[in-house]
């Protein structure tokens, strides 16, 4: 975490949601700026330079999906979509456009804060911090290319390692099925969801305390997987 408090821009046309999010985020120690529509959002983005944007998709002047791209222009700024649209296609579309995460309304406050922390960590973490990721009893060493469970090295196949490493490089963030298939199996295999399911199950057998009730590598139905890291 940097010395100054991270700044978060809330983009939502409903004032009660902005009030609520402002209270929650301020209590958690963040500086909050607000925007009620796309126009205000773009100018706040330019003037206030927030570290993270919470974006509602149903804005009065423009569809939020169109904004994802322009709000993400700066790679040091994270973006989480917070929307009442719960259809899988909407979530995948927002993530494909570059959103770091997608939270549906009504959201669980603790979960939203966890997503905010994960996205900010991803943006603000130093190189060294990114090299080792801890999740439950496992430690993924990205530099040493090893994974330990309760201190003992676990043998994983090359594909399993690639998959685990991809998830560990973005701890706490959801990666879509397509993103994972593309980076691990290559662009020709993006439709082979089956490969991904099999590899995830195998990783869970090796890493999860209870493989049938996973807590470390979790699935967002129809969207993708995330590795839940231990909170620092």
């Amino acid at each position: 975490m940097p010395a100054r408090a991270p700044k978060i821009l809330i983009v939502d046309d409903e004032s009660q949601i902005r009030t609520l999010l402002k209270a929650t985020l301020s209590r958690a120690g963040y500086v909050v700026v607000e925007a009620a529509n796309a126009r205000e959002a773009l100018s706040a983005k330019a003037i206030d330079k927030p570290d993270l944007v919470l974006l509602d998709l149903g804005l009065p002047d423009r569809d939020g999906l169109e904004l994802v791209d322009s709000l993400r222009a700066d790679p040091r700024s994270a973006l989480i979509v917070v929307s009442a649209r719960d259809q899988t296609e909407q979530k995948v579309a927002a993530l494909d456009l570059g959103a770091d995460d997608y939270v549906t309304k009504p959201f669980d406050t603790e979960e939203l804060l966890a997503r905010v922390r994960a996205s900010l960590r991803q943006r603000l973490a130093s190189e060294v911090e990114r090299q080792v990721v801890e999740a439950g009893p496992i430690i993924v060493d990205l530099l040493g290319r090893t994974v330990r469970r309760d201190g003992n090295e676990v043998h994983v196949t090359p594909k399993e390692w690639d998959l685990l490493a991809e998830l560990a490089k973005h701890p706490g963030r959801v990666l879509t099925h397509e993103m994972l298939l593309r980076s691990v199996w290559g662009p020709a295999q993006v439709a082979q969801t089956e490969y991904l399911r099999v590899a995830i199950r195998s990783l869970r057998q090796k890493l999860e305390p209870k493989p049938s009730q996973p807590r470390l590598i979790v699935n967002e139905p129809g969207v993708g997987y995330r590795l839940l890291p231990n909170e620092p």
């Binding site: 409903e14 009660q16 949601i17 609520l20 999010l21 209270a23 929650t24 209590r27 149903g58 009442a84 649209r85 719960d86 259809q87 899988t88 296609e89 309304k105 009504p106 959201f107 669980d108 406050t109 603790e110 196949t157 090359p158 594909k159 399993e160 099925h177 199996w185 290559g186 295999q189 082979q192 969801t193 089956e194 490969y195 399911r197 099999v198 590899a199 995830i200 199950r201 195998s202 869970r204 057998q205 493989p211 049938s212 009730q213 996973p214 979790v218 699935n219 967002e220 139905p221 129809g222």
Partner: protein, 510 residues
């Protein structure tokens, strides 16, 4: 455009008399000029005087008047100017030659002129025909309804061919679409002729070799190979309305009619498609806006409850109630929207290979407030095959089934979620320890739903109806039964063999 222009007409008798009189008149005029010239300069130039008269007759009136003019000129020349004068005898060879030349000139010139005239007439007829077809197509082009086009086509056919026109379509009972003059009726033999044309695509009725007793003659109106209508023509005097010469024109006009009808139908199809698309768009916009309007205040309530939990003065029990009830409301809203989607036929299936471990874990996570301290046993074998399912629909099914099980098994009744391969199908069971299903075992789920839906527990009927609709949309089934030997009910989602993936391939595939 008048009838005369489109129909090449023969020269009327009066004009013919005029032509022959004119030819003889011109020869007479030439003779007068010759009589004036001969005494002064001799007879030598006189034969030349007749040449313009013969040429003019040939050019103006054709071969008959030209020959008459040639003969008259030869005779007049012989009579007035050759020795012996005032007789038809010829003494000199040169005079014989003059007479013969005059006749040859008459023949050749008239032949040439007739050729040119007939070319011109053909070109004129072509132009007239094209103009007729163009005018006809133009009249139909501005119209946008089939009945208007049929009416306009009949009006034009009536005018162009000077006969009654009618348009008939539909098999096996052809009916009149338009008629000019209006109110024309068809006899049974006419209807039979029209049906024959509609069926075979050939002309039928009077003047053809099919259905001759009919008063009308019908021609097919063809569009992309199919006969879409039959155009009938008839004359009050019973004569054949269109002769062979005019048939190609009629066919061209009917082709234009077919094009116009085809265009109108295509336009109607496009309108239909775009209005369907617009309806779909509105429906999904409405659902998404209702979802937004209901979820936004709920988000504020749930968020405010979470904030309250942090305040020391608030009662934890009250905050918990607030959160639990808000959670129920949220599921109820989701169910209402799902039901609206089902009823609107707006459920879109996006299936993919699904690991039931993922599906169960996601459902349990979303229900963590409802489940609280309740014991849930999850029994999913590590070699359970993947199933083909829509992850979102399956998620909503599991939420509803687990929520339903919670409501029926008392405050702390344990749940079991288990899956297994049974006879080539994957069965996912949700078992509770409640009182079980009301009456006999193995009730159909929809009957159960109706009974449940009406009781005071409320909401369950909707949830189970959604489970049934979603599982069936995915090609799976859901059944409800009482548990064997122990208290409680069990709901089972069955994925048939067609939705079950073969034994897992190696994770390093690809």
């Amino acid at each position: 455009m008048t009838k005369a222009q489109i129909m090449p007409s023969h020269v009327p008798a009066a004009a013919r008399v005029q032509a022959y009189t004119g030819a003889i008149g011109m020869v007479a005029l030439s003779t007068l000029v010759g009589l004036w010239i001969a005494p002064r300069w001799g007879t030598a130039p006189v034969d030349m005087i007749y040449l313009p008269a013969v040429l003019a007759a040939a050019a103006l009136w054709g071969i008959g008047p030209a020959i008459v003019a040639g003969l008259a000129a030869a005779l007049a020349y012989n009579f007035f100017f050759t020795e012996p004068v005032h007789t038809f005898q010829i003494d000199r060879v040169t005079d014989v030659v003059t007479v013969v030349v005059l006749l040859i000139v008459a023949l050749v010139t008239s032949k040439l002129a007739a050729g040119i005239r007939s070319h011109a007439r053909i070109a004129e007829a072509h132009a007239a025909r094209n103009a007729t077809i163009g005018g006809f197509a133009g009249k139909l082009l501005s119209l946008s309804r089939e009945t208007e086009i049929a009416e306009a086509a009949c009006t034009e056919l009536h005018r162009l061919f000077d006969c009654n026109a009618i348009l008939v379509s539909g098999l096996p009972e052809p009916r009149v679409v338009a008629a000019v003059p209006a109110g024309n009726r068809l006899t049974p033999s006419d209807i039979a002729a029209a049906a024959l044309t509609l069926e075979s695509g050939e002309r039928a009725g009077r003047g053809t070799n099919r259905s001759q007793p009919a008063e009308w003659v019908f021609s097919p109106v063809r569009s992309s190979g199919a006969v879409i209508a039959a155009a009938g023509l008839a004359r009050d005097d019973g004569h054949i309305p269109v002769d062979d010469e005019q048939l190609p024109l009629l066919e061209n006009l009917l082709d234009q009619l077919a094009l116009a009808l085809e265009r109108v139908r295509a336009e109607a199809d496009v309108r239909e498609v775009s209005s369907l698309r617009e309806r779909d768009r509105l429906r999904s916009a409405l659902l998404s806006s209702v979802g937004h309007d209901l979820r936004t205040p709920l988000t504020a309530i749930m968020g405010a409850a979470a904030e309250l939990r942090c305040e020391e003065s608030s009662s934890p029990a009250l905050v918990a109630t607030l959160e639990t009830e808000a959670g129920k409301l949220e599921r109820y809203i989701t169910n209402l929207l799902d039901m609206a989607r089902i009823e609107a036929g707006a459920v879109k299936l996006r299936t993919e290979p699904v690991d039931l471990v993922d599906a169960v874990a996601a459902a349990l996570k979303d229900l963590r407030t409802t489940l609280a301290e309740r014991s849930v046993a999850v029994e999913l074998p590590s070699d359970l095959p993947l199933v083909r399912a829509d992850p979102q629909l399956l998620h909503h099914c599991l939420i509803n089934l687990i929520d339903n099980a919670c409501r029926h098994s008392g405050a702390n009744g344990a749940l079991t979620i288990a899956a297994a391969m049974v006879k080539n199908e994957v069965r996912l069971r949700i078992e509770d320890e409640g009182p079980g299903l009301p009456q006999e075992r193995e009730r159909a789920l929809d009957t159960f739903m109706r009974i449940e839906g009406s009781d005071r527990k409320g909401g369950a009927g909707l949830g189970l109806a959604i489970v049934k609709a979603f599982t069936e949309a995915m090609g799976a089934t859901v059944t409800a039964a009482n548990r064997d030997g122990v208290r409680g009910s069990v709901f089972t989602i069955r994925f048939p063999q067609s939705l079950v993936f073969d034994a897992m391939e190696s994770a390093d595939a690809g």
